[in-house]
């Protein structure tokens, strides 16, 4: 059992504060992914939880016990490093057994000692090796293994210690694309088998979406949003999360508020000087305020049979077969992107009519925070998965 609770966690190096008060609750057995651009502080956060860095301020609890001053092994965590960090002078077997041979300082405490301990270690190592299909490589050195095998050894080293929490630091970034998908599935399966709490750090939002029970988007040392993958996809709390989750990224259109109603907002778009009335709670938005409108490429289509309409010139068409991406003229800004039918005959240079349902349109105020939508269209709302 391992619930983890971070309250007001801060970290500074000298005067530079890199984490500005992080609050996260992680339930036992949950697969949590920290995701964010490089340098956002997600790896530092992981190292704080691991006990490899000291926490400057705040409280870290595992199972209700404050562990700020505990060593990693006292916290009963295990970690898989980006570089795998396999000990090059030890065989696979010894790499996996290393933590168990550390005697009283090891996780088994006084249990180890005498002949029995070797047998116990052997049992654990063999079991882990079997589950990871590493039995044939136990007496090889890390340099004799492929990238995927090394990855599995690193995971095996974590498993034998039977930790309460597994920490993964960008474990897939050194693998090639094909292996990455395989290993991703293996990790997902591992989580089901072990039923352990896993905290996983990545900069890749696809990994985050596919693996996580809960995603924590970190940006600039703050938690930008925390929630299930579909919550983040359908209800991004701010412009950063909206742009970060989803591929290709959400399109953003700048606009100015022209009228404020109880359940909607009239926005004059800079793009084509059209006005749209979008069903969101205006909060404190006033007439004349700048707002940003966000629509995902996959929620737009060619035609004019939906409530939100746009006309544009196509600059580039990418044909992927199952779908085609239209990239639209957008002045100096990043081109807008629309995911359309693979059979679309639209070519570069064409003028097209585009539309989307209002319920798929997000509005962000000048501070970048999302305004809550008032639509009840189920299609664009995260489904409730039974727990």
């Amino acid at each position: 059992m391992a619930d983890i609770k971070l309250s007001g966690i801060k970290k500074s190096y000298g005067k530079a504060e890199v984490l500005h008060g992080i609050d996260i609750d992680i339930k036992d057995g949950e697969f949590v992914v920290f995701v964010g651009p490089s340098g956002c502080g997600k790896s530092t956060l992981l190292r704080l939880i691991a006990g490899l860095e000291t926490i400057s301020d705040g409280d870290l609890q595992i199972d209700g016990e404050t562990v700020n001053d505990m060593t990693p092994s006292q916290r009963k965590i295990a970690m898989v490093f980006q570089s795998y960090a396999l000990y090059p002078h030890m065989t696979v077997y010894k790499n996996m057994a290393f933590g168990l041979t550390l005697g009283k300082k090891g996780p088994l405490g006084g249990l180890l000692g005498g002949g029995e301990n070797k047998k116990l270690i052997d049992e654990k190592v063999q079991k882990a090796a079997k589950s990871l299909k590493l039995e044939d490589y136990l007496h090889r050195y890390p340099r004799e293994l492929s990238g995927g095998q090394r990855q599995r050894v690193a995971i095996g080293r974590a498993i034998v210690r039977d930790p309460n929490v597994f920490l993964f630091d960008e474990p897939l970034s050194n693998l090639d694309a094909a292996l990455r998908v395989n290993t991703r599935l293996e990790i997902a399966k591992l989580h089901q088998d072990l039923e352990a709490t896993i905290i996983y750090v990545t900069h890749d939002q696809v990994e985050a979406m596919t693996l996580a029970d809960k995603i924590v988007v970190v940006n600039g040392g703050h938690v930008a949003q925390c929630g299930s993958p579909l919550e983040l996809y359908h209800h991004p709390a701010n412009k950063f999360v909206a742009g970060f989750i989803g591929s290709p990224s959400m399109n953003f259109l700048e606009g100015t508020t022209t009228a404020v109603h109880a359940g909607s907002l009239d926005v004059l778009l800079d793009y084509d000087n059209s006005t749209a009335s979008i069903p969101v709670h205006p909060d404190e938005t006033q007439i004349g305020d700048k707002v940003t409108i966000g629509i995902r490429p996959e929620h737009m289509k060619e035609g004019n049979d939906q409530s939100f309409k746009l006309s544009a010139k196509v600059n580039v068409v990418e044909r992927l077969g199952e779908a085609s991406y239209l990239y639209l003229e957008n002045g100096e800004n990043d081109p807008l992107c629309v995911k359309t039918d693979g059979h679309s005959i639209t070519k570069a240079g064409d003028k097209v009519e585009l539309c989307a349902d209002f319920s798929a349109v997000h509005v962000f105020n000048a501070e970048g925070n999302a305004l809550a939508r008032t639509t009840s269209d189920q299609k664009y709302i995260a489904p409730k998965l039974s727990a």
Binding site: R47, A50, G51, L52, T71, P72, S73, I77, A78, M79, F81, Q82, S83, A85, L86, Y87, P88, H89, F98, G99, L102, K105, G106, P107, R143, R157, R161
Partner: protein, 310 residues
Amino acid sequence: MALKNQRGSFFRTHILVFLLPAALIYTLFMIIPLIDTVRYSFYDETAEGITSFVGWDNYILILTDERWWTDFSNALENNFIFFVIHMFVQNPIGLLLAALLSLPRLKMANSYRTLIFMPTMLSVVIIGFIWKLILSPLWGVGDTLVGFVGMTDGLPALLGEESTALITLSFISVWQFVGIPMMLIYAALLNVPDDLVDAAIVDGANQWTAFWRIKLPLILPTIAMVSVLTFVANFNAFDLIYAVKGALAGPNFETDIMGTMFYRTFFGYQLQPGSATLGATVASLMFLVILCGVMLYLFVIQRRLQRYQL
């Protein structure tokens, strides 16, 4: 084909221009003198400069004549003690300092490193004189200093006594050169990825066990290299003994090492005239000792130590 040849010779001129000057100076002033010295050890030379081939006579003289052998074995033995003290005092201290300096997030590590390395930069001659002054019974600094740690009898004449002179000189040299193993080992330790130590810490190790079980095995090749460098430098040492004790390496040859014996044999001292051929013989014997050490390193130690890709 003709074109290819032309291109080939074109390239060869370049190689020659780039390579020749260095190869020439190196061969002329290093390789030839070394070989010629060995050749010379098989000759005898009269005062008039007439040389004649004498085979192994010079070696037989030095290794069997009672007076020569006493001198030579004494120098060899002293040199060995000199080396052992460096090997087992200087290198472990260097390792310790390097290990401490490479601890993660150690404050002021740069300043320590710079300051501890300072004596290494100075000439051995200067270091020798500095310590000669400090240890001199005339000055009394040594007495004052040992007084602080409770030795009220004052400091014995460490450099003057037969029993302590060589050991004292060895420690002076250790004091000066500890910076070299420290730096080389420190550089090797920096090359050990932080992730490995972090992984060990997560596995339940502390900094101490992580050092012994992870870092140390990975830098063994560097430690072997430091050892052979120490060996070569020690069996080639001369400056310190000469500066502090002169060519006679007193008291009573107690501090005589191969380098000083070579110098005396070559240039003569007191009543014994210098001899270039006997000097060459001593140099060749030193060559042999150093070669044995280097070969042991190259063909036995280095081959057994696996270099790990870090």
